[in-house]
């Protein structure tokens, strides 16, 4: 390992966060595709749209947890995408850092809010 880390073979991407974020974006995307399919199936197989039917769907424990995991995946997915946007267009380091911190804060707040919503029914 140490011998490979010199000259042209020097390891310059050791953090591997590029690959990690790429993978996170794919895994969370697949999860959201599956959730979309399940949600559509549940809506179209249910009877006439009403509060009772809608609330009953979200009252099921498996659906509540599935929704929670998918929403958390969505927020992680959004973090990777929004961070890319800041990195591409916002060059001043201070402003970029501020926007990234604001994004993280906002997404964590959304995550907490989502859980609150899901467990209110």
């Amino acid at each position: 390992m140490a011998n490979n880390n010199i000259g042209p073979k020097r390891l310059v991407v050791g953090a591997h966060y590029g690959v990690k974020d790429w993978l996170v974006q794919r895994v969370t995307a697949v999860l959201m595709v599956v959730y979309t399919a399940v949600l559509f199936f549940m809506i179209f197989t249910s009877s006439t749209p009403s509060y009772e039917g809608w609330a009953a769907l979200f009252a099921k424990q498996w659906f509540k947890l599935f929704s929670a995991v998918t929403l958390l995946a969505l927020f992680y997915h959004a973090w990777v995408g929004v961070r890319d946007i800041w990195m591409d267009y916002i060059k001043p380091v201070g402003l970029r850092l501020f926007l990234q911190i604001a994004t993280i804060g906002w997404l964590i707040a959304c995550a907490a809010w989502s859980l609150q919503i899901l467990w209110s029914v």
């Binding site: 794919r26 995408g81 946007i85 919503i117």
Partner: protein, 140 residues
Amino acid sequence: MTEAVREAPKKERPEFRNIHVTDIMKYRLPMAGIVSILHRISGALMFLLLPFVLYLLQESLRSEYTFANFMIIASHPIAKLVMLALVWGYTQHFCAGVRHLIMDTHVGLDKDSARKSATVVVVITVIVTALVALKLFGVF
């Protein structure tokens, strides 16, 4: 040799930079490029509208009373337009995302298939958005 190099007139070397925002309209992007920038725009749109979506979800779920409130909000023309924008964003991002996932398996990477799949993404999105628009504004 060194003399010749020194005496050669300095040519103006062309400078290539990233596309600036003000240049956007001057560029004719290929179909795959259009889908690429629309992926970013739709993603940003959904990120910015997150509070609206979560608010609607909250109102629709919390109680029968808030559900009625949700129905009132959802029937407002401006809310319908925002929801339509969200439907467009979701469908665009969904289709282009599935295209990404397929391409990750090394399928359809050549120029021709990439252009075709990009066109399919845009066409599906436009059809779905148009159908939802007709439904939202009560045509059927």
